[in-house]
Symmetry: C2
Subunit: 843 residues, 2 copies
C-alpha cells in the first residue's frame, strides 16, 4: 500500500512546511497504483500541478502553473482526471451531509453520474421556490374557481389555464426526480410515488376533462392540492409534524373508542330517562340523544340540553354532570395525556434517528475524503473541498476556522470522531474574540466624544427605567383616553386629531431608538430581537402619527395606537424567557399553523362543493335554530348566522374556524342538516374529530416544547460558543490548500504582529442542542449501536455488490475495517453505480 | 461506658442462643450507671424478668415469671421502671414514625408525659371520625338554613342548635390540641391557629349573635365552614392538593397578567374598530368590549360576538381569529404548560421532602430503640415493641417476618440503614411463598373433582372468549332494542317487561361469576378489581331483572340495563392499564373532587346570600338575554334559564357547574347583572378565574399522573415482592422476645419438619415506588444531604437545651456523633421536655 497520490502536503506534521509539496509530489511519483485503484483514479504524476481546486470542468491550471516547477506534462491528463475525481468525491460527500441534515434517506441519492445534473437542478433554492410557487398557485386557484372570492371575467377558463400551468411545473419536478432516482427507486419512494403517480395524474386528467367538457363538475380532487404543498422541500417541518400526527393516531383511536362507548351508554341511558318527557327535544329518539350528547361533548349545547330535564326533575342534573365529568374532564384530558406521552416518545425517537442518520452521513462523507495512505484522517485541503459544495457561502477564513475548531487534537488532520461535529461547527458564525472597537472610533474627535457619551447614557440603568416609565404612562394615558372617549359617547371617527401627548411619546420612542442605534452601532442594535421589536413598533407609531395627521380619511390607522402598548412586554424581564422560547419554537408553530390551514383547505373545498349552492338566509323554518338564521329586524340585534356558510374559500375558512372553536357549532350543523339531509352531520362531526386530533397534537406539542424548554431554561442559557486560536504555523497549512493570494493576505492581516489570534464561533441554541443535553446518558448508547451497525456494513450504501454495466463499471471493494487503508478516491461513478443499482434496490 | 442495661439477649450473634438471657442479666448487673443516665433509667437488675412487653401500667409479670428463674426481687421495682421507660420509648418512636408517614412536623409532638393522653385521644380513628362528622354536620347545615333545600319546621332554630353542637365538637378537638401542644406551639402551628383562633371564634360569635337576635343576617362566615373539613386528619391529600394549587399561583398570575394585557390591547383595538358600527352591541363601549372579549376568552359567545362586525366587513374575522389564536390557543395552553411544569416540580419536591422527613423520623425512632451497649443496632425485642404501637394490628409472625426482611445482613440486629426500610416493609402483606392448595382441597372426592374441572374450565382461554362474545352480543342486542324502540315511537314506560334474552344474559353472567368464585375460591376471586367489577355489575343486573319483574311501578330501574355494557371494558386488554392507573390515582382524584366541591360550597354560600332573593323568571326584559328567561310557551321549547339560580345549595351547585363548563355562562351572568348591578360581574368573573386555576391544576395533575404512569408502565408492572426465609435458628430469637407460647407454636408449625420456610411480602406499587425509581439518581444525593444535616444536629428535636422545670427536669445530653454509645433508654419525659420547651420553641 505504498501509493498515496492524494496525500495532504503537510502530512509530515508540518515541520518541514511549505516545501513539502516537492516531497509529496516525489512520493506520489514513486507510488505504484494499487490493485484496487480504478482506471479513473490512476495516479501518475503530481497532483500539485492542479488548479487551486476549482470545479473540474473549468480547470484553469495556467495561473498557478508557474509556482509549481515540477509539473510534468505527461501527468497533466491523469492529474485532471484525479482532480475531477476529487471534485466528484467532494460533491458526493456534500450530498451525503445534506441528506443527513435533511433526514433524507440515502437512497434518494443521484443514481449515477449522468443523473447528477438533474439532481443538482432539483436540489437548488431556485427550483424549490419554483416548486413552492407552483403549489401555492394551485392552492390559490380556489379563490377564482367557483364559488369564487374574486369574480374575475372569464375566471373559469383562466383558472383552467393556470391550473394546467401549475400542474406542468409540478410535472417538471416529478420528471426531474424520476431522472435522478431512476424509475425503480422512484416507485419505492412512497411520498414521491403518491405525489407523482397518483395525485398528479388524477388531477391532470381531472383538469383536462373539465377543459374538454368546458363545464365544471363535482371536483373534490381539488381538496388534494395541499399534497403538492406538503411535498415541497421547504416544508420538511410540516411533513414531520404530519408524520407525528399519524403516529399519534393509534392511541388516540383507542381513547376515541372509549369515548364513543361512553357516548353509547349515556345515549341509551338518556333515552330511557328523558324520552318520556315530551318537552325535551334533545332526547326524543335514540339517535337524537346520541347527537345531543356528541354536541354536549363539546359543551356547545350546555346547559340548554339539560334544562328541560332539569325543569322536570332536579336529579337529572346528575346525569349531565356525570357525563361531562367522565367524558369531558376525564377522558378528554386522558387523551391529551396519551397524545402528550406519545408525542414526547416520538420526539425522542425522531431525535435519535436524526442523530444516527447524521452520524451515518458523516461516516459516508468522511470515507470519500480520505486518501489511501491516510485512510482515517482528512486533510484541510479535502475538507475545504467538501465545504465548497456543502456550504458554498463559507469564506476561506471561516472554512479554516471550522477545520481548526473540529480538529481538537490539533495535529492538522481530522479523525472521524472529530469530523462528526461538522454540522454544529458549520452552523456557527465566526468572529474575532476581541470585541471590535465601536463603529464611531474612526470619526473625528468631537463627534466621537458625543457618541461615547451616548453609549454611556444608554448603558445607564436609569435610562431603561425612564423608558419603562414612559411606556407605562403611555399605556395608562391611552386606556384612560379610550375610556373617556367611550363614556363621552363621541363618535370615534371624530377622534382622528393627533394630540400632543401622542406626539411626545412617539418622539421619545424615536429618540430612544436613535440613541441606541448610535450608541450600539446599527449592527449590534438590530442583532437583538427586542430592539427590532421596539424599532418596528416605533416606526409603526411614527408612521401612524404621520398618517393620522395628513391622511385622516383612512380611519383604521388608529389601530396603530394600541400597538404601542406591546412595548410593555419589555418591562417585565420574566416575559423575555417566554418570548425567547416562542422565537425558538416559531418554526414548529408555523408548521402547526400550516397543518391547520391545509386541513381547513381540504374541508373548505369539500364544503364548498357540497354546500355553496344553499342560501342560508331565512332558512331552517320550524327548526330549533330558526331564529339564528332570520334576517329580519324584529329582534333587537339580528344573529347573522347565515353568514357562516361556504360561499367562498375564505368564508368557508371562517366557518371552519368557528367549528374549530366549537362554541355554537351545532347551530351551523343543524342549519345545513335542515337544508340538506341528516348525512350532513357526518361532515361536521368528522371535521370536529379531525380538528380534535390535530388540536390535541398541537396542544401536546406546545406543552412538550414549553415544558422541555422550561426545564432546561435554568441550565442552558445564551448561545453556544466555541473558541479557536489561529497561529502562525497555520498559515503554511492554509497555503498548501488555498492558493488564492488574497485569502492568505487576509489571514496574515488577522495575525498582524502577534503570535496567535483568537476567534470564536457563536451558534444559536436550537432544540437539538437542548435535546442533546437531555439525552446525554442515552446518546452514547445510540451512537455506539449505530457505529456497530456501520461496522457491520461499512461500505457506501450498497457498494458491496458489483454494479451492472452502466457508465464505467469498476468494482469497488472497500475494506471491511477502517484500520486497513482504503483506496482513494473511490470512483464516483463506480460507487454510485454500486450504491443504488446493486445495493439498496437489491435489499 | 461499660453499662449496658438494656441489651438484647442475643447480642452475641445468637450462637449461644436461648440461655444468653442469663449472660445478659449478669452483664447488666455488672454494669455501672453511666454519668448521664437519668433517674428513671437507673439500670439495676435484669430486665429479663419483665412481663412480655405489655403496657407498663398493666404489668402482669406473673404468668411468665416461671420461665425466668434468675428474677431478683430487689430488681423488681427498677425493672418495672425500665419497662415503663421502654414502653414510653416504643410509644414515642411510633409517634415519630407516624409523624414521618403523615408528613407532620416533629414539633406537633406531645409536649410532655402529661400531654400524652390528650395526644392519644386526638390521634385516634374515633376522634378523627368525630371531627369529620362535626365538619360534615356544619357543612350540611347549608341544606336547612335559608334558602333551604329541605323545608323543615322550625328549621331556623334547629339549624342554630345543630351549628352550636358542631362548633362544640370542633371546639373539643381544638382544646385537645391545645392541651398536647401547649399554647405557644399551638400558635406557631399556622393551620391550627387559623382554624382554632380565627375561624372557630368568628363562627361561634356569629352563631351566638344569630341566636340572640333570633333572625339571620348576611352570613358569609358560613362560606368558611369547609376550613374545618380540610383540617381533618383524613383529608391530608386535599390539604396537599390545596398547597400545590397555592404554590402554582405565582406563575399562573404571571400568565394571567399577560392575558389581561392582551385583553386590554384587544379591547382598545376592538373599541376603535367596531364601536362606529351601530348594530354591534358587543363593542359599544370600552367596558362592554372588555366584557365581550373576556367572555370570548371562554369562547362562550363565539361566533355571535363576531357576527355583527363580520356582517359589515369580512376582514373583521381576522381580529377575532387573532384574538382567539393568541389568547385561547396560545396563552391558555402556555398557562397549562407552566402549571404542568410547576406541578411536576412541586411533585418532585414533595416527594423529596417526604422522603427526607421519613428518613429523619426513622433516625429519631431508631435512637429511641437502641441500648447503650449496642448504640447502632436494634434488637428484635425492641423492634417488636415498636411495632406494637406503630402497627398495632401486626401479628407476631408478621412482625418477625418484617424484622427478617429488614435485616439484610442477617445478623439478628438492625442497623440504621436497614431500619430505614421499615415503612415499605410494614406496608407489605406476608404470606407463604408456596401457593396454598385450592380451597376445595379438603372437600370430599367427587365434589373436589368437580371443582378441579371448574378450575380448568375457567382457565381455558375459550371460556373467556365465550364470555366476551356474550358481552358483545348483549351490547348489540341492547342497542338494537333501544333503536327499534326509539323509531317505533312506543312510550318507553311500557317497555318494562323482562324479555328472555335479558334473562339469558344475566343468567350467563351469574353462572360465570359463580363458576369463577368456585374455581378460584372467593378470596382469590375478589382480590382482582376486575372480578369485583364484574360481580357488582352482575349483581346489579340480577337485582334489576328481579325489580323489573316484580316492582314495575318503579320505572327508573331500567337504567340498570345499559350498565351491563360496562363489562365491555374488560374485553380490550389495553384498557386494563388505563383503569389500573385510574385506581392507583383514585385517592388523588378524590382529593381534586373534594377541592372542587369546597370551592363550589364557598361560592354557593356567597351566591345564595347575595342572589337567592331574586326571582329570575321572566326577568331581564329588554336585555339581550331576555328570551332565555321567558317562561311563556310562545317558542317551541322554553329555555328554562330561570332555573339556573341560587335558590338552594344544590341548585347553586348546578349553576356553578354550568359556570365551570363555561358554555353560555354569560347568559346567567347577564341575567343577574340585569336584576342587580354591574358589580355582579365580579362574582362571576372571579369564579371563572378561580375555576380556571383549579381546573388547570386538576388537568395538570391528570396529565402529570398519567404521563408519569405511562412512562413507567413498561418498566414496572405488578406488585412489589420481597422474599424472606424463616429458619430453625430464628425460633430462638423469637423466643427471646415473644413469650406467648401460641406464637411459638405457630412458628414451629410453619417450619414443620423442614429446615426453612419461605415467605413473601407483597405490596402495592404506589406512586411513591414509581417515584423512587424515577429519581433513583437524585435520591442518594438528597439522602446524604439529609444525613449530613442530621449529623449536624443529631439530637431529638430540640433536646440539646436544658429543659426548664416541669415534671422531672433531667438534663439529657446525647453524644454528638453516633460512634460513641448513647445512654438508653433516654427519659421520655426528659427528652420531650427538652424537645419542645427548650428546643424548638427557642429556635
Amino acid at each position: 500500500m505504498e501509493e498515496a497520490p492524494h496525500c495532504w502536503p503537510g502530512r509530515n506534521t508540518g515541520l518541514t512546511s511549505l516545501y513539502l509539496s516537492m516531497d509529496d509530489s516525489q512520493a506520489s511519483r514513486a507510488g505504484s497504483t494499487s490493485p484496487a485503484a480504478s482506471a479513473s483514479t490512476a495516479s501518475h504524476g503530481s497532483q500539485m500541478e492542479e488548479a487551486p481546486h476549482q470545479y473540474a470542468n473549468t480547470s484553469t491550471a495556467s495561473d498557478t502553473a508557474a509556482s509549481l516547477p515540477e509539473s510534468q506534462s505527461e501527468g497533466q491528463n491523469s492529474s485532471n482526471l484525479i482532480n475531477s475525481s476529487w471534485e466528484m468525491n467532494y460533491h458526493e460527500a456534500a450530498i451525503f451531509l445534506e441528506e443527513g441534515e435533511n433526514n433524507d434517506k440515502f437512497n434518494s441519492h443521484p443514481r449515477d453520474r449522468s443523473a447528477l445534473p438533474a439532481y443538482l437542478v432539483t436540489h437548488n433554492h431556485w427550483f424549490y421556490s419554483l416548486d413552492l410557487f407552483a403549489a401555492l398557485l394551485l392552492l390559490s386557484l380556489a379563490t377564482i374557481e367557483q364559488p369564487a372570492v374574486f369574480h374575475v371575467r372569464r375566471a373559469g377558463g383562466g383558472a383552467r389555464l393556470v391550473e394546467l400551468f401549475g400542474l406542468f411545473l409540478v410535472g417538471i419536478s416529478i420528471v426531474m426526480q424520476l431522472r435522478w432516482l431512476g424509475p425503480r427507486t422512484f416507485l419505492t419512494h412512497r411520498r414521491s410515488a403518491v405525489k407523482g403517480l397518483v395525485t398528479w395524474i388524477v388531477m391532470l386528467i381531472d383538469a383536462v376533462v373539465v377543459i374538454s367538457r368546458n363545464k365544471t363538475h363535482f371536483r373534490v380532487t381539488r381538496a388534494m392540492r395541499p399534497i403538492f404543498m406538503v411535498d415541497n422541500r421547504y416544508l420538511g417541518g410540516v411533513r414531520r409534524f404530519l408524520r407525528q400526527i399519524l403516529q399519534s393516531l393509534p392511541p388516540i383511536m383507542e381513547m376515541l373508542a372509549i369515548l364513543f362507548f361512553i357516548l353509547l351508554i349515556f345515549s341509551t341511558l338518556g333515552f330511557y330517562l328523558f324520552s318520556p318527557n315530551q318537552e325535551d327535544p334533545y332526547f326524543s329518539t335514540f339517535s337524537q340523544g346520541f347527537v345531543s350528547l356528541y354536541v354536549l361533548l363539546t359543551t356547545a349545547n350546555f346547559p340548554d340540553v339539560m334544562m328541560p330535564a332539569y325543569a322536570k326533575s332536579r336529579w337529572s342534573a346528575a346525569f349531565f354532570i356525570a357525563f361531562l365529568g367522565v367524558s369531558l374532564y376525564f377522558i378528554m384530558n386522558l387523551m391529551l395525556a396519551v397524545v402528550f406521552v406519545v408525542f414526547s416518545d416520538i420526539e425522542k425517537e425522531k431525535f435519535r434517528k436524526l442523530l444516527v442518520h447524521k452520524r451515518r452521513a458523516c461516516q459516508y462523507a468522511f470515507r470519500l475524503l480520505v486518501t489511501c495512505s491516510q485512510p482515517s484522517q482528512v486533510s484541510f485541503r479535502h475538507f475545504h473541498g467538501l465545504l465548497r459544495f456543502f456550504r458554498p457561502g463559507t469564506s476561506d477564513r471561516d472554512a479554516f476556522l471550522i477545520f481548526k475548531a473540529l480538529n481538537r487534537s490539533e495535529n492538522g488532520r481530522l479523525t472521524r470522531n472529530e469530523f462528526y461535529n461538522i454540522y454544529d461547527m458549520c452552523g456557527y458564525a465566526w468572529r474575532t474574540q476581541v470585541p471590535p472597537p465601536p463603529w464611531f472610533n474612526g470619526l473625528p474627535g468631537p463627534i466621537r466624544g458625543c457618541c461615547y457619551l451616548i453609549r454611556r447614557l444608554i448603558k445607564w440603568k436609569w435610562f431603561d427605567y425612564f423608558i419603562y416609565f414612559i411606556i407605562i404612562v403611555n399605556a395608562l394615558v391611552l386606556i384612560t383616553h379610550t375610556i373617556i372617549l367611550s363614556t363621552a359617547n363621541i363618535p370615534i371617527t371624530h377622534d382622528l386629531h393627533v394630540t400632543w401627548d401622542q406626539i411626545t411619546v412617539v418622539a421619545l420612542y424615536s429618540v430612544e431608538a436613535l440613541l441606541k442605534i448610535i450608541g450600539m452601532g446599527p449592527w449590534h442594535y438590530f442583532r437583538s430581537g427586542w430592539n427590532v421589536w421596539d424599532f418596528a413598533i416605533t416606526a409603526l407609531a411614527l408612521g401612524g402619527i404621520v398618517a393620522e395627521e395628513f391622511a385622516d380619511s383612512f380611519f383604521y390607522i388608529v389601530i396603530l395606537r394600541p400597538l404601542r402598548l406591546l412595548r410593555l412586554f419589555r418591562v417585565r424581564k420574566r416575559y423575555h424567557a417566554v418570548f425567547q422560547t416562542l422565537v425558538i419554537l416559531l418554526p414548529r408553530i408555523v408548521s402547526a399553523i400550516i397543518i391547520i390551514i391545509i386541513t381547513y383547505y381540504f374541508f373548505a373545498v369539500v364544503g364548498m362543493e357540497v354546500y355553496s349552492q344553499y342560501d342560508m338566509k331565512n332558512c331552517c323554518v320550524n327548526t330549533t335554530v330558526e331564529q339564528f338564521y332570520k334576517e329580519d329586524n324584529s329582534t333587537l340585534y339580528p344573529d347573522f348566522y347565515f353568514l357562516n356558510n361556504f360561499d367562498n374559500i375564505f368564508m368557508a375558512g371562517v366557518t371552519l374556524f368557528e367549528l374549530t372553536v366549537v362554541n355554537n357549532w351545532f347551530i351551523i350543523m343543524e342549519g345545513y342538516v335542515a337544508v340538506t339531509s341528516e348525512w350532513s352531520r357526518l361532515y361536521f362531526m368528522v371535521f370536529y374529530l379531525v380538528m380534535m386530533v390535530v388540536m390535541s397534537v398541537v396542544v401536546a406539542f406546545i406543552l412538550e416544547a414549553f415544558t422541555f424548554r422550561m426545564e432546561y431554561n435554568h441550565t442552558v442559557l445564551g448561545d453556544a460558543v466555541d473558541g479557536v486560536s489561529l497561529k502562525k504555523e497555520d498559515l503554511t497549512v492554509i497555503h498548501s490548500a488555498i492558493f488564492d493570494p488574497r485569502t492568505l493576505q487576509q489571514f496574515s492581516a488577522c495575525l498582524q504582529n502577534e503570535e496567535s489570534a483568537q476567534f470564536e464561533g457563536v451558534g444559536q441554541r436550537t432544540k437539538i442542542v437542548l435535546q442533546r443535553r437531555m439525552y446525554r446518558d442515552e446518546i452514547p448508547v445510540w451512537l455506539s449501536q449505530a457505529d456497530r451497525e456501520y461496522a457491520d456494513s461499512p461500505n457506501l450504501p450498497g457498494s458491496t455488490h458489483s454494479p451492472p454495466g452502466r457508465g464505467e463499471p469498476i468494482p469497488v471493494t472497500l475494506p471491511a475495517t477502517h484500520d486497513s487503508p482504503q483506496q482513494t478516491p473511490p470512483s464516483y461513478v463506480g460507487s454510485l453505480n454500486g450504491s443504488l443499482d446493486g445495493g439498496l434496490l437489491g435489499t
